[in-house]
Structures are given as structure tokens and as C-alpha cells.
Symmetry: C2
Subunit: 133 residues, 2 copies
């Protein structure tokens, strides 16, 4: 089964503009075309796009993702680079998880702070501690 750019966009919650932009940036060299030039995405292309979205969500810029895509095309000679890259991404995501936990702590603190203030009708209830924003 093959899919048009519009179908893929809908499936992955992207726009067709974004997919064409990815292609323009060299992220989708594996996507085939019809004789008239229309892109035909296969199942494995969609899986590759999910990996691209995964890398993007770790904060990896498009240019670095392209480097990875180039490595894939280069075959077994680049297995070590690709392994190292994913190990590095793993470390990045672990750091993000720590960061997000700290963020959640502060957000929760603020939820409690404002719940208490709201119940009291005034923020002054907290002024005994210190002035907060």
C-alpha cells in the first residue's frame, strides 16, 4: 500500500508544506515518485518519518537529522556513527526528563500556591513567607 503526501500529512499530523520542506532538506531521499513526479510514500517511509519526528522531539536540528539519513544510505560502514548518535540522543532525552520533572515540581508548587490564595481571596496569605511571582 502506498500513500500520497496529503494522506501522510494527515496520518502524522504534519502539513504537506512541512513534508515537502523535509524532502527539500534531504530528509526523504527514499520516497519514490510516479512517472509524473508525484511522491508515493510506502509503509517504511512513514516509519522513517516517525523516527525523524522522534529525533526532532529530542531537539535535534534538521541538518543533523539529514546527516543521520545520509548515514543510513551509506549502509553498514556507518553503523557505529548511528549507534553513537542514538546513545547521545538517549543522554539528551534523559536530561530532558530531569528538566521536565523540575518544571513539573515548580508548576505543582504554583498550583498549590494559587489554590490557597484563591481560597483565602488574597495572595497576602503567602506574604509571611516571601513575595512570590
Amino acid at each position: 500500500m502506498e500513500y500520497s503526501i496529503g494522506e501522510v500529512a494527515k496520518e502524522l499530523n504534519l502539513t504537506v508544506y512541512t513534508l515537502r520542506y523535509y524532502d527539500k532538506e534531504g530528509l526523504l531521499p527514499f520516497v519514490n515518485r510516479t512517472s509524473s513526479g508525484t511522491r508515493l510514500f510506502k509503509e517504511s517511509d512513514i516509519e522513517a518519518l516517525k523516527v525523524i519526528e522522534c529525533l526532532k522531539s529530542t531537539g535535534m536540528p534538521i541538518k543533523e537529522i539529514k546527516t543521520f539519513i545520509d548515514w543510513v544510505a551509506d549502509g553498514d560502514a556507518t553503523l557505529q556513527q548511528r549507534y553513537d548518535m542514538f546513545l547521545e540522543r538517549k543522554a539528551v532525552v534523559e536530561a530532558q526528563m530531569e528538566e521536565i520533572n523540575k518544571t513539573m515540581e515548580l508548576i505543582n508548587h504554583k498550583c498549590n500556591y494559587y489554590k490557597t490564595a484563591l481560597d483565602a481571596g488574597t495572595e497576602d496569605i503567602h506574604k509571611k513567607d516571601k513575595i512570590e511571582v
Copy 2:
């Protein structure tokens, strides 16, 4: 104790350019100045900046953070808005946590995939399943 913009930048791992930009965008109306115009950050200003960085890390744009800063200046009348905002941020962060867990799953899968391929010396070891990127 009060701090210069350079000291605050170093402390919070920001640049002085960024801090001045925040000020320009209305995020730091509470920071006092010397008679000659130099910014003097107090302890509570640094705490406020940490909240700003926290909101930023949830993906909140500067303009929305400014709205919040304006609410703070408006006092008790905006307690409900501020509470609602933090509840919304909490939901956003919870979604981010789910997203990041999925990301980590895929990254881990890829780490294992490439470790196995590397040990075998070729990616073909996985070709029995399906072609992967």
C-alpha cells in the same frame, strides 16, 4: 543583596542580551534601576526569572508569559486567571511527559537495534523483520 545583569546572566545560564530582551518584552517590570539607569536585580527578581524560565520550558511563548506578568502586577483580581494558567500548564507538561516517554521508548529500541547490528557487523541481521531507518 543585589545583582548586576551580568551576574544574573551567569547565575541563570542566560546571556545579558537575553535578559535585556526579556526586559524589552515587558517580562521584568519589577527590576529596579540605579539613578544612572543600571538594572539592580534583587533575590525575588531572580526567583521570578526562574518562574519565567519554567514557563518557557513548557513551551509558553514570551507574549503569553508577559500576560501572566501583567496579571501579577494587577494583584488579587487576577488570582483565578493565574491559577487557571498554571492548571493548563500542568496539563501541557503532563502531555510532554507522555510524549517524552514514547520518544525514549523509540530511542531505546534504536539503541538495541544498532547494538545488535554492530555486534553482527551488518544491519542485515534485522532484515528478516523489516527494513528500518
